[in-house]
Symmetry: C3
Subunit: 305 residues, 3 copies
């Protein structure tokens, strides 16, 4: 079973793209409290100069793990209209929550002729950010909630901190909406303690070839293609590890890996994460076994890459 106290905390924090500071503060506190029990105490980099990002440097890094801390959601427009942040699923009747200067908000969404509306009884101030109402369900086999993408990736990164000796653990912003923190993070990393590879700790999709309970997904490609030489190194280690894992070969989908590839440095990258059903809906669903494999795989790979 995952550590449910942390997981519940981070699943309940709202942090749509561009508004991640509550999440950053939570993580900063958690790291401060917990790091004494970690194998290595990391250097912590945060603050205005780094916007709402948070970086932890353990020992002498050869690589980095990136976990994005932003989520999809909605922003109120004029009248009672909403515009999406990232690519949320819009299902009529879904509850959204948030607050503006006039107080807390809970409302339903509905779609009409391609536009999205809320049914809140009063005007919502323009520019207010709304998130899916959270509803966490745990069974023996599954966790279901809004924002498993990417709270589970964040959780995985936090678990990795416990045993990591050398490497960066990086909490990035803006992944769901346009991107743009990775270039600045990479620049900072390469000037502080440079890396040669990056693992993307994020959640992917259950598809025709990717199934619940078959283990963590190592992505051979999505819209972008990591370098074959690096993939082969990872696949060989994954094989050795005996940790359950499966391969993804998709033509669509993207991640922070895209921006690592386009960076002005030769940095290899690979997406490794558990798959989910009901993507970008309030009912994202992940196999607990796959989450477990994800945590195990990162622990296995990081000292060996």
């Amino acid at each position: 079973m995952p550590e449910m106290d942390i997981l519940e905390d981070i699943l309940n924090i709202q942090s749509t793209s561009g508004d991640e500071s509550s999440m950053t503060n939570y993580l900063l506190n958690l790291v401060s409290e917990r790091m004494k029990s970690w194998k290595v105490i990391p250097d912590i980099y945060s603050g205005t100069q780094l916007h709402d990002c948070l970086l932890l440097k353990f020992g002498k890094p050869k690589g980095a793990v990136f976990a994005h801390i932003d989520t999809i959601g909605f922003m109120s427009r004029y009248e009672n209209q909403l515009v999406p942040i990232g690519g949320p699923e819009v299902e009529n009747g879904t509850y959204l929550v948030g607050k503006d200067e006039l107080g807390p908000i809970r409302c339903k969404i509905f779609e009409e002729e391609g536009n999205i509306f809320h049914d809140f009884q009063r005007k919502i101030l323009p520019g207010t950010r709304l998130s899916f109402e959270q509803n966490i369900q745990i069974s023996n086999d599954f966790i279901q909630a809004a924002y498993l993408d990417n709270r589970l990736g964040v959780y995985n990164a936090l678990k990795l901190c416990e045993t990591l000796e050398d490497g960066w653990v990086v909490f990035s912003t803006y992944e769901e909406h346009g991107g743009g923190s990775i270039p600045a993070l990479i620049n900072f990393i390469q000037k502080t303690s440079p890396i040669g590879f990056a693992l993307i700790s994020d959640i992917t999709w259950v598809t025709g070839g990717v199934h619940h309970h078959d283990g963590v997904v190592i992505s051979i490609r999505d819209k972008h293609i990591p370098r074959r030489k690096f993939l082969e190194k990872i696949l060989k280690l994954a094989e050795e590890s005996s940790i359950p894992h499966q391969l993804e070969i998709e033509s669509a989908g993207s991640s922070d890996g895209r921006e690592v590839q386009f960076s002005p440095y030769f940095i290899d990258w690979c997406f490794i994460g558990a798959p989910e059903d009901n993507v970008h809906s309030p009912r994202e669903k992940v196999s607990l076994k796959d989450l477990d494999s994800m945590v195990e795989m990162y622990r296995y790979l990081m000292p060996r890459l």
Copy 2:
């Protein structure tokens, strides 16, 4: 009323994306003549090493104002076909002007089965650049002309120069077609005298929620989303200022802000500009009151951010 001599000059200079040197030269001359009367005399950066961009550094900058000096237009192709530069509105019968080695050109455009043609009586040499014929109309309330986007943003930046004590004023290229000068400009700025924020001095759209005469637009988002913390700082100052302003929340549209966000530096950005009707047509229309608010707002914000 705006300073019509400058405004008429810059509205009459042709400078489609990639061919901005006439505009750069005009601005360079204007700056040389006028800067003695400015509160602070800036350092001027221009020349081949900076392509057709122009940068002015006032005092000790904390931020920068970016105004793009290129415009949309057309380029002659083979036969009597045209291809767009940026995203111009194509209305049959619109007059275009330009010149090639064979002499001056004035012709009409028409669209046929998705292709654009001109009706000039002779062949136009392939690769020749054409712009909308200019027609400036001023009333008590409005200015109407081609290329208010972004001649008014340039005008605003020039007005700001008169009183600016600390900050960069940057005239960028290629905004209308693909972008690409901002990354190099930012790199130059960060190495010369680094900044923490950028304001985008450009023109936006009248929409369902953005109206003429309601003041300068502060954009909460377009296709891209600035960081909430920075937006809130601006909105608080704007409130204090009592300068007329309105908020924009759109899901589409983009600006030089996009490239600031994707830069390898943590630089906050926000789009602030008057709204226009008849976007990218020869009859772009802006409220003089909104233009006035734009000039006032930049003067108010720059020393306070």
Copy 3:
């Protein structure tokens, strides 16, 4: 006639985007063997730190020539499905070749309801890369083969090496699929021996205005627009040279030039290359006369820009 031994070698090496190392190794060997006979012996940059790219520095560079060494192709997915690498033409019955751990593969492709399948008699391991089966045909006037794009651009770069005194010759990766090596290459170049311009040695399209046998194409624009001042310098030299050439003005298509433009440096760029028919099919076709003009034009321009 082109040097057919080299050309046949490189046309027969498989190197889909992300898997270019065989090509890099071939080029590295070839350069080592041949460079003694070149006018200037270049500094060679390659190895893990540069991924699968290869850079040659001749003398004191003012500019660089970029030739991408990757090709389009296919990757096996789950079941007997394929996903494209880059944008290959899919024609039912086309033969693909490759190999996985179970042995060599030769199969046909067919498309059904927007998905691509192979007909190999056994399962192909997921993530296996397949290329068009090669079939080189030379006549008096034409060369026809798979992957002339960009084996001819590579060939042109190699021919340039024979006489080049000052300049970078750069073999880039990932051009066909998403890009991403140019930013890192440019960063490396600007830190090692900086440049002010880049020529893109690649193959373009025969269109309504671009014809076989009319000479190498100098591209005035594709989706992106090079800076007018640089274009005019090139066009003037091309005129002087008397080498057959023609102009391209297109609204679509892109190249490594795009990433040069978006780099954080002010580097001019222009695409110069022979045009082909049957783009991205196994039967790409280029005029030998145009290939010859391409080689001549690069030799003429590089010392003069």
